[in-house]
Amino acid sequence: MKYLKRYEDGERMTHWVVAITFVLAGLSGLAFFHPSLFFFSHLFGGGPWTRILHPFIGLLMFLAFVLMAVHHWRDNVMKPGDSEWRKKAPDLLLGRHPQMPPAGKFNAGQKVLFWVLLVCMVVLLATGVALWRPWIAPLLPVDLLRVSVLLHAVGAAVLVLMIIGHIYMGIWTKGSMRGMTRGNVPEGWARLHHPAWHREMTRGK
């Protein structure tokens, strides 16, 4: 089988740093979000340790995401055809095999994911830094902190929902996972899911 290079080593490692820190920041954050999930704090050595570690993990996640965004943002700019792709996406999900406009390196759904994640990351960083005890929060007015706790929770919930979708797409679309674990994908996979990218990669070969 012929394979096409999809993600360089550095891109993959950065992605997995984001993924691991997302899981850790997510579990430690959910511990504080709902009483039924407070038991997650045991994974981090108890309540106070969870409170201490969460912001550092979150900061690492943000920095790794920025690195990833610098690599990928150009491929995530919306192009003509993307709005039609988004319109047909429900049919695709329902297994009706619609004729999709040819996707580039990333399809329109992945592009939406990218930009929503970017917004979430910025919101989580700004509000998270504001809430950071014992260093930052004591310097700020309580009204700002109240806005921050709410926005932090909303940002986190949206982020988690998007990532659940992201992970599911990796499971649903057979062959995708290999791109992020090995760095290459079968040519047939590329032709089917990202025809425009496939053309670009095989031009003149």
Binding site: S36, G46, R51, L92, L93, R133, V142, D143, V149, W172
Partner: protein
């Protein structure tokens, strides 16, 4: 403060099942602070640090009587002095003993994410079990009165316990016991409301037309109440006029919390059943295409 009253806990932070509350024959208590009788001697501050074995840092003199200038992790009550002119040209010196108000609907408890770090007893006292405190500062966001203080030494939140340890064995709070003018009263909530209204009536007769009891409804009433000479303008003494838990906190810890959790669990379930129904997204074999 402690788990002495572990059988009469009516509310517990970050807990979704009923708390142990078998002891029901417990009257609601309240502390009544009559500012018209207060002489600003700070004996209550001394009694508080004495009973609770607290010693604050020796601070800086800030040019007014307030000392320490604010509540701290080791100063759970402070006298605040206000020079105000409620009417044009009428100087008045108002003195308010500041500290936890022990809300019937405590915002700190609502915001706290650590199970059992904040409890409310059947008698109405809101207490911090500081060994369960994780130092996140959520109680500060929940409090409409700016009361909890987090120690820089141990990252735990502290505030007035209403001497829950003394009240639990039938004693009045230390500040009440020590007050030389009887400005601080303690008893059942009903008695204190009645007495406070009587005192407000007496003050009205003496020319304080707007005297009244400060027992704000927005937080369900409080277990620390004031008799104010100018109850129509509590903001003269840095008291919020209509305190309530911030709607942002209510939304965050009320509606948003179960909704987001349901959303996350729902998304995983939708994914699972989608896969089982539609199957994977892959190249179709020749038979499937037919």
């Amino acid at each position: 403060m402690g788990s002495m009253q572990s059988l009469d806990v009516v509310a517990r932070s970050a807990t979704t099942t009923p708390t142990p509350q078998v002891r029901t024959a417990i009257p609601q208590v309240a502390k009544l602070i009559d500012e018209s009788k207060c002489i600003g001697c700070k004996a209550c501050q001394v009694a508080c640090m004495n009973w609770n074995d607290l010693r604050d840092e020796i601070g800086e003199h800030v040019g007014v009587y307030d000392n320490p200038a604010d509540l701290t992790p080791t100063s759970w009550t402070v006298m605040r002095f206000f020079e105000v002119d409620p009417k044009e040209g009428s100087l008045e010196w108002l003195i308010r003993k500041d500290g936890c108000m022990h809300c019937e609907d405590p915002g700190c408890l609502k915001a706290c994410p650590s199970p059992g770090a904040i409890v409310k007893y059947a008698n109405g006292i809101v207490d911090f079990n500081s060994e369960h405190c994780i130092g996140c500062g959520y109680c500060i966001k929940g409090c409409p009165f700016d009361v909890p203080r987090i120690s820089a030494k141990d990252n735990k939140a502290y505030k007035c316990t209403l001497c829950s340890d003394r009240v639990g064995v039938g004693l009045e709070p230390a500040c009440v016991k020590t007050c030389p003018t009887g400005a601080i009263g303690f008893g059942t909530k009903d008695d204190m409301v009645a007495y406070g209204n009587k005192r407000a009536g007496e003050l009205k007769e003496r020319g304080f037309a707007n005297a009244g009891l400060y027992n704000p409804e927005g937080v369900g009433g409080t277990h620390v109440m004031y008799v104010l000479k100018h109850a129509d303008r509590p903001e003269l003494e840095d008291l919020p006029k209509n305190p309530s838990i911030s709607p942002l906190v209510s939304l965050w810890k009320g509606f948003a919390k179960p909704l987001a959790l349901a959303g996350m669990v729902g998304a995983v379930l939708v994914g699972f059943f989608h896969y089982m129904k539609v199957g994977p997204h892959e190249e179709q074999s020749e038979e499937e295409k037919v």
